[in-house]
């Protein structure tokens, strides 16, 4: 009797000992095995007709069907339309290598989600197939203030078998040339480039920087009936640096950064504590330049909020946030300082 009883206990004890340290692994969410890879997903989506065509021409479609992981920032058809690309046939006219580089720049070589970017931060780098990182910025609201290289991310975190996909409203570009080289190559900025050269401001744009240039198109000069010859005739010694120094910042900012990194308070849009950027113009500290909202402005350094000298808009959308090796170019609308306002009177 006694022996039987203790045997029962021994068996029970063994059972308890067996269970005591065992922790079952509970799987709450089984992974979805029915997701498609990135290349397939884009191929089957009418919103990305042109992006898909570009990927196919450049042979990146197969890469995107590979193991990954990838995060794709897919420009919608509208984004390509804004560049003047309307049908897949338009890609045939383009240089395949440079098109491939542009497409590679839309593919991040890791699986990332919007959660990987902290709120109120800019310039979070993520490496791409191109080898140069894209810069992600997030404001307060992930649904409205989420940007890649200054372009808005419209839809985010679409799960794929080999990564995630996001939609952007603009084709983003990285051009591995300096700001100076780009300005010189553009007919559109011919007068502006000549002016920077004449006033000794152009060569610094070949150095590391980083720089942000608010480039003036020829039309801005023509509006004031200033021609390239007029610029050549000016004597740099008799003008303050602010005449063209106004358009060059030794900072790098996308236009979206101006909305994310706002300052606290301030007594107005141009006040140093109100404007997103306001710094004295290097070499002419009597005047300060800055960005209020999307606008470039010039003001006397000693003034708080007004009177400002003048302000001008930036844009259009396809001529802002152009990223180069050593900086960014945005197009500005008009001159904010006229030659007679920077003239040193004898």
């Amino acid at each position: 009797m006694m022996k039987q009883y203790s045997l029962k206990f021994m068996v029970f004890l063994l059972l308890v000992l067996n269970l005591a340290c065992k922790h079952e692994r509970v799987v709450l969410f089984a992974p979805n095995l029915n997701l498609r890879p990135a290349g397939e997903f884009i191929n089957n989506n009418y919103e990305f007709k042109l992006f898909n065509a570009a990927l196919k021409i450049t042979g990146l479609s197969e890469v995107l069907n590979g193991p990954g992981p990838f995060t794709v920032f897919a420009p919608s058809d509208l984004a390509f339309n804004n560049m003047g690309i309307r049908t897949p046939a338009d890609f045939q006219k383009m240089n395949l290598d440079s098109l491939r580089d542009v497409m590679k720049y839309h593919i991040v070589v890791q699986r990332m989600s919007s959660m990987d970017v902290a709120k109120k931060t800019v310039d979070n780098p993520f490496n791409t197939l191109l080898g140069h990182p894209v810069l992600l910025s997030l404001g307060n609201d992930i649904d409205y203030d989420f940007y890649i290289n200054g372009s808005k991310i419209i839809r985010k975190d679409i799960d794929l078998a080999n990564g995630t996909l996001n939609t952007v409203d603009k084709v983003i570009k990285y051009q591995p040339v300096t700001v100076k080289k780009y300005l010189e190559s553009q007919e559109r900025y011919r007068i502006f480039t000549a002016a920077l050269k004449k006033f000794g401001l152009l060569d610094q744009l070949d150095t590391q920087g980083p720089w942000t240039v608010l480039a003036l198109p020829n039309s801005a000069f023509e509006k004031l009936s200033i021609s390239k010859d007029d610029i050549e005739k000016l004597n740099p010694a008799s003008f303050k640096t602010r005449l063209f120094g106004t358009y060059i910042f030794k900072l790098q900012f996308f236009r979206s950064d101006l909305l994310i990194l706002t300052k606290s308070g301030g007594s107005g849009g141009y006040d140093p504590s109100g404007a997103a950027v306001r710094v004295p113009i290097p070499g002419d500290e009597e005047y300060s330049h800055g960005m209020a909202g999307y606008n470039l402005f010039v003001i006397k350094t000693e003034y708080g909020n007004d009177p400002i000298v003048r302000e001008t808009t930036t844009g259009p959308a396809d001529r802002i946030d152009l990223l180069f090796k050593n900086g960014i170019i945005h197009e500005a609308g008009e001159l904010v300082i006229y030659p007679e306002e920077a003239f040193i009177r004898p």
Binding site: Y5, S6, F9, A118, T121, L251, V279
Partner: protein, 399 residues
Amino acid sequence: MKKISINYLIILLFCLTACGKIEYTKMDSPAYLRVFNNFTYNLTVENKNEQFPIFTMLIEPKFDGEGTVTGAEVLGDFLDKRDYYAPPYPSHIGNSTSVFNPEYPGKENVLVGPVLNGYDLSSWAQVPSGKRRVMFVYRPKSEVPFLQLPKQLRSKVLIDTVLNLEKGEVFTLHLLQKDFNTRENGMILRQEQFHKMPLSDSLVYVNIYNMSSKGFWSANAGFKDKFERMGMMNFGIKDVMNVYYSLVNYDQGQGQWFDRAINGHNKAFMGTIHRDTESGKVHPYFSFPVFADAGSNNISTKIWQRFFFLPPGNSLENYLHYELYNDNEGNFAIVNCFENGLVRPFADWGGAAMLPNLLVNVHSGTYNPRTFGTVNTLEIVNGKVFLTTVQRKYAPPVY
């Protein structure tokens, strides 16, 4: 038979509890350390290449082959900008669910200091003493713990140095900006002395530091962030300032509130403070009685304190009509230590900085409330002023 089954039951009990093993944390010969992040700046487009000032403290960090931090003997994560008030005991723990820590140890669940010479050091963490490598690394403001961050986000170092933390000593470490224009950063390690000094418990002690960065007060007002509760202090104070104090009683009399300065403690001279972002020297403690009012019952009092700052050679009377909020270009500032620091006293029209009362009123023994004298440190950093209060151990309440 019965005896045996009881034995088995006991064995069964042992088996069931076999996996619960408690390891008590213990630190041999510790030093006591409290860390504040005194950075006040915000990130803007102009300085966006700087890092947002939130840090991880690493004592004796460990690295992998690539030089990335993989661990540390002591790790203090989420060290955010400091709060206006550092209370005598770590009340943050019960008052907040956010991971961001206004000081170290603050919310960290670590061994803290004992009651040393009567002072409650529960806001100081025990850290290994001796010469220790201390690192402060920038981290993004997210809720991801430091060691789980991607490698590239773990490599921006603010300070990497060796500190000599002597055994049994009390240290306060301040991270701060040394120069407002060049954005040079640094830190101060202060070896506190209050627990070694013969301080009376019928007096309130306060010492004042100006740890503002060089060039802050003279900078254009537009470059300074403004906080409503800091009043005129927003614009900074000059490098050398005289300090005056008033003790003020307030009550309701003749149908309206009044604030009445105590005789003998009305705009009385206290001393001079110099801006210093280099040395860890302890500044002299000024003192005033806990019960300064002649009619006091010596048990509790509602008296509050005002501190006036103005440059040597100036008379306080010349400035008092500037008590309204305006930019005095570093020449004048007031700090009110009133109630819990969240309301303005009757006599203040928005010009003064708001901090909690230096006197601690708390239920102790049979008295509710009972007033205790404390040892305080006022730290002025750029446009902000911070209060740290250390309290003696007091009798528990009797209900």
